[in-house]
Structure formats: structure tokens, C-alpha cells
């Protein structure tokens, strides 16, 4: 039997390294018809803001080679509705529930975190400082190490629960951002959010999504994500949660070797609703065949 458990520092233990990526899994209940969501070691919710947001006008998505561009604009039901409507379903979930928080201003982040940290069925937070699809906030907080550091410090004051910062690849050096998060008290970093992406219809000459430039995700971005994890793992000791383009078990092993302690599955949910089951099977088989007794033994074991 392979030990699939992963510890993310002292505060959180996962039954397996697979989590869901924010915005690709609804609020958790949508996929529960087709699989047992307890297959995931952790669930990360859609980004929530203190007030509901209707999001960007259509078209919001376009398919590109081995990927997609989205510009959802953080459409979400808001913190209070989330707590009212999803409590029943999510409090039955056996894994670790992480709520992703987005804000336009510092105060919006603080207000959401203060409210949510009181809720006992929420085990931790992922802070989205890296959304390319909103005019204010979003990536603005994730681009400048000073601004980022200040935000993380203040958030740290507001919760003792697991606090992880989700970083953008749209910066010169993601390692500097990761270091800043560690220095300012974050428990972990998650990477990567989507890359800038755009596409144009050559006949109408119109951009194919509303915001012109959106966020690229899917298999196309995996090498960028792996490189980001390698860079970050060289400069920080806190756990890294890796994501970006994972579509199969082999990809997950690659992320672990690069230095990720756990991973999040994103766009793959759209083209393979059973991905989590297939990946778990692969990981067990891979470990068995390669005499690996605990999946955590793979973390950071890239052989330079």
C-alpha cells in the first residue's frame, strides 16, 4: 500500500496530493453526480469576494491549441450566499476545504477573510492575487513584491488557519514573489494562475473574448508551470502547491519532482470529468512499480 498522504506544513494534512483549482470546479456540488468528491485530498472553491460579482460580459471563453483563454471576471455568489447555500454540502466533505478569496482593495480581502475564518468547516485560504481578468485588484496585488508583502502580513494577522498565496506567472521572477510570501508569514504558495493570452478572429478581426486579453490555461501552459515551481522551490521552504496544465498522472509526478508538495487540477475537469480517479490510479501504480512507499518521497526529487 502506497502512503498517499501529504502534509502541508503543520496545519493541513491531505489524504492525497490532488486538489481542485479555483474556478474549474464550481462550488463543489456540480461534479458530485459523476464522482465522489472525497477522492480529492482538498477542494479549493471558486474565488469569493465579500460582495457577489456578476463577472464579465460574453464571450468569456475561447478554445486555443491545447488550452483555452478565459475572462470570467471572478463572477461569484459572494461570501454570505456561499455560506448559506453551500454549507450543507461542503461540511460533509471529508477532505480539506480551502476557500479562495479575491478582492479589489485591501479592505475587501480583509473583510472576506475575517468573516470566513470564523467558519469551522473551512480549513484554510488561498488568496488570489493573480487574476488577469479584473480591472482593479487581482493581479495588481501580485506584481509588486512590496504591495504583496504588505497584504500577506496583514492577512496573516487575521487568521491562524492555513494561509496560502496564489501567484501569477505574469511577473519577471516568480521566485521573488514566493520569497516575499514566505517572509511575510504565508503557510504555502500556490502556482500558477493563468498566463496572459489573447486570440483574434481573422475574418471579423474581433478579439475572441470580451476583455481582449484573458488568462491562458490547460496543457499548453504546463512547461511554464513546471519552471515556476522549480524556481520557487530553490528559494523557499514552505510548501508549494503546483498547477497549470495537469491532464494526467504523469503530469502530477512531474510537478512533485519539480518541488510541489501537492497539485491542483483545473482545466482538465472540462475535458475529463473523471481525471481525479484516473490520476489516483496512476499514482498508486507508479509508486508500486517504482518501489516508492510514500508519495511524499517524490517531492523535490528532480535529479539535476
Amino acid at each position: 500500500m502506497v502512503d498517499m498522504r501529504i502534509k502541508l506544513g503543520e496545519k493541513i494534512s491531505l489524504d492525497n496530493p490532488l486538489m481542485t483549482a479555483s474556478g474549474t470546479f464550481g462550488y463543489g456540488n456540480e461534479l458530485s453526480d459523476v464522482l465522489d468528491i472525497n477522492n480529492y485530498g482538498g477542494i479549493v472553491t471558486k474565488s469569493l469576494s465579500i460582495e457577489p460579482r456578476i463577472g464579465n460580459p460574453p464571450p468569456r471563453i475561447v478554445e486555443t491549441h491545447c488550452g483555452m483563454i478565459n475572462s470570467i471576471g471572478l463572477a461569484n455568489i459572494g461570501v454570505e450566499t456561499f455560506l448559506e447555500e453551500k454549507a450543507g454540502f461542503l461540511s460533509d466533505y471529508k477532505g480539506q476545504l480551502i476557500v479562495n478569496i479575491a478582492g479589489r482593495t485591501d479592505d475587501e480581502y480583509f473583510a472576506a477573510l475575517k468573516r470566513l475564518t470564523q467558519v469551522d468547516w473551512i480549513q484554510g485560504f488561498e488568496i488570489n492575487v493573480s487574476c488577469p481578468n479584473v480591472k482593479e485588484g487581482g493581479i495588481e496585488f501580485g506584481k509588486d513584491p512590496k504591495v504583496l508583502g504588505q497584504l500577506v502580513k496583514e492577512l496573516r494577522q487575521l487568521t491562524d488557519k492555513f494561509l496560502m498565496i496564489k501567484l501569477s506567472p505574469n511577473v519577471t521572477d516568480i521566485g521573488i514573489m514566493a520569497e516575499k510570501c514566505q517572509e511575510c508569514g504565508a503557510d504555502a504558495v500556490a502556482m500558477i494562475n493563468t498566463l496572459y493570452g489573447a486570440a483574434i478572429d481573422i475574418y471579423s478581426r474581433k478579439p475572441l473574448i470580451n476583455s481582449v486579453i484573458g488568462g491562458l490555461s490547460g496543457p499548453a501552459i504546463k512547461p511554464v508551470a513546471i519552471a515556476s515551481v522549480i524556481k520557487a522551490s530553490k528559494v523557499i521552504d514552505i510548501p508549494i502547491i503546483g498547477m497549470g496544465g495537469i491532464s494526467c498522472g504523469q503530469d502530477v509526478v512531474e510537478f512533485l519532482l519539480a518541488g510541489a508538495s501537492a497539485v491542483e487540477l483545473g482545466t482538465v475537469h472540462f475535458f475529463n470529468p473523471h481525471a481525479v480517479i484516473e490520476i489516483l490510479e496512476f499514482l498508486k501504480k507508479y509508486c508500486d512499480e517504482n518501489n516508492i512507499s510514500a508519495i511524499s518521497d517524490l517531492v523535490g526529487k528532480i535529479d539535476y
Binding site: G26, D33, G55, P58
Partner: protein, 258 residues
């Protein structure tokens, strides 16, 4: 409750130049399908990553039917699948037509928009209603006939190469006097056609439900990618997810360019 299954193709038949009908063996989905709903078909190992949504065109005896037009790479790939091929399918997805009681049911399909109308027709026929089925196509090559219709079948082509000459909305207008009122109209087709029909039904005070299309990534409410602008009853504007809240809407609630 939707299901994600590996199912066998029973037959995949060419209906006309670019139209195909695929019969899929999936009793689990058939049992719970309602007219207006759709399924996602999945593809593997491709540059294109999204599954593709198709209206359920029939669901009986354990067999799910879709009618599709070859318009690009994935539908081309589908047209090459042989009987016996295993495909991954998710469904049923989306909401359904709400079937009104009394009056006359008029089902209008433009182009491949005929697909959901065939299932709706089946369901009305079992309820002892005799609906009108109006089918519009650009020309004869785009028109196909079904042997098993049990309703008033009315065909039109834009160029007059088959049936009534003109688009299916003007055909409906030509027939409307002979139809017993009140009318319940259901339609699926290109946005332009829906828009013209919606304006006409509004003027005539016919109740109209439309099935609309948007590019979908997940098909089940995970990504919020398929949002379209809608009006709520109180007149408020909101974004609705076509894959979950739709694809069927009251015509008055949608913006055909939204």
C-alpha cells in the same frame, strides 16, 4: 442526476450531405432525459480540448439519438466513428422545455436546430398531442427526412429547392391562420432566426420558448464560461449559464446578441 459514461455507438448514419444521425447505447442517460436537454461528447488526444455539446434528438428503448452537422474538426471526427466505437458521454445536461397543456404546439427547427425538436415531438406525440413540425433549411442538400414522424411535417428551403420557398419563419407566418389557437411555439435555430421569430411571437402574443447556443467548456456549471445576458421576471439584467440554467429560455428573457 447526470451520468458520465463510456457508451457504444449503435449506428452513425449520413442523412444528407453534411448531416448525420448517431444512435448511442446508453440506457442510464436515456431514462432521465427530457426534451431540451443536451449531452457532451468527449474527444481524446487532440489540440482541441473542449467536449462538444449536442441536443438530445431522441431517447427511447435505451438508445440516445443525436443529429449533427459537420462544421469543423470534432464533428468531422464524429462522422468517421463506426458502429461499435466507444465514446465518452455526459448527460443529460441543462434544463428542458416546459410543455404547456391545451392549445396547439408548433415546433420550429432551423438547420440543425431541428435536433431538439425531434425529441420534443416524440414526447408530445406520446402525450396524444399532434404538434406541427416546421423544418427550415438553406437548400435541398441541407434537408433530410425522417420516416417515423407522426405529426404535421412542414418543410421549407430558402431557395425553394424543397417544400415552401422562403425561411421557416415566413413559412410559419403563412400557416398561422390555419392553426388552432392558442399557440405554444418552441424553436431552435440560428440567433438571427430566433430573433425574428421572437419579435413576431411577441407581436402576436404567442408564447415562445427558444433553445440557444453558446460555446461551452464544461457543460455543467463548473467554469461560468457560457454566460449569456438575460432578464429576470422583475426586469433585472443578469448573466445566466446556458449549460445549467438553459439552454431553453422564454424568448422574452434573452438578448439574442448577449
Amino acid at each position: 442526476m447526470k451520468k458520465y459514461l463510456s457508451s457504444k455507438i449503435i449506428s452513425n448514419q449520413q442523412l444528407s450531405k453534411s448531416f448525420f444521425q448517431m444512435d448511442i447505447n446508453c440506457p442510464e442517460i436515456v431514462k432521465i432525459s427530457e426534451p431540451g436537454q443536451f449531452v457532451n461528447i468527449y474527444f481524446s488526444g487532440d489540440k482541441k480540448i473542449f467536449p462538444r455539446p449536442f441536443s438530445i434528438a431522441g431517447a427511447k428503448n435505451g438508445i440516445l439519438k443525436i443529429v449533427y452537422k459537420v462544421v469543423g474538426s470534432q464533428t468531422l471526427q464524429m462522422s468517421r466513428w463506426k458502429s461499435g466505437h466507444d465514446l465518452k458521454i455526459l448527460g443529460p445536461l441543462g434544463n428542458k422545455f416546459s410543455i404547456k397543456t391545451g392549445g396547439t404546439h408548433v415546433l420550429i427547427g432551423g438547420g440543425v436546430g431541428i435536433a431538439p425538436m425531434l425529441f420534443l415531438k416524440d414526447s408530445l406525440v406520446t402525450k396524444n398531442s399532434k404538434p406541427y413540425l416546421l423544418i427550415g433549411a438553406r437548400n435541398k442538400d441541407e434537408m433530410f427526412l425522417f420516416e417515423d414522424y407522426e405529426s404535421e411535417l412542414n418543410l421549407s428551403t430558402d431557395d425553394g429547392s424543397h417544400g415552401f420557398r422562403g425561411n421557416v419563419v415566413s413559412y410559419f407566418q403563412a400557416l398561422v391562420d390555419s392553426m388552432e389557437k392558442p399557440l405554444h411555439v418552441y424553436c431552435c435555430g440560428p440567433d438571427k432566426m430566433l430573433e425574428v421569430l421572437a419579435a413576431y411571437c411577441k407581436k402576436m402574443k404567442f408564447d415562445l420558448q427558444v433553445s440557444i447556443e453558446k460555446v461551452m467548456a464544461c457543460g455543467m456549471g463548473l467554469c461560468q464560461g457560457c454566460a449569456t445576458k438575460t432578464k429576470t421576471e422583475s426586469g433585472e439584467i443578469k448573466y445566466s449559464l446556458v449549460c445549467k440554467d438553459g439552454p431553453v429560455y422564454n424568448a422574452g428573457d434573452v438578448f439574442f446578441n448577449g
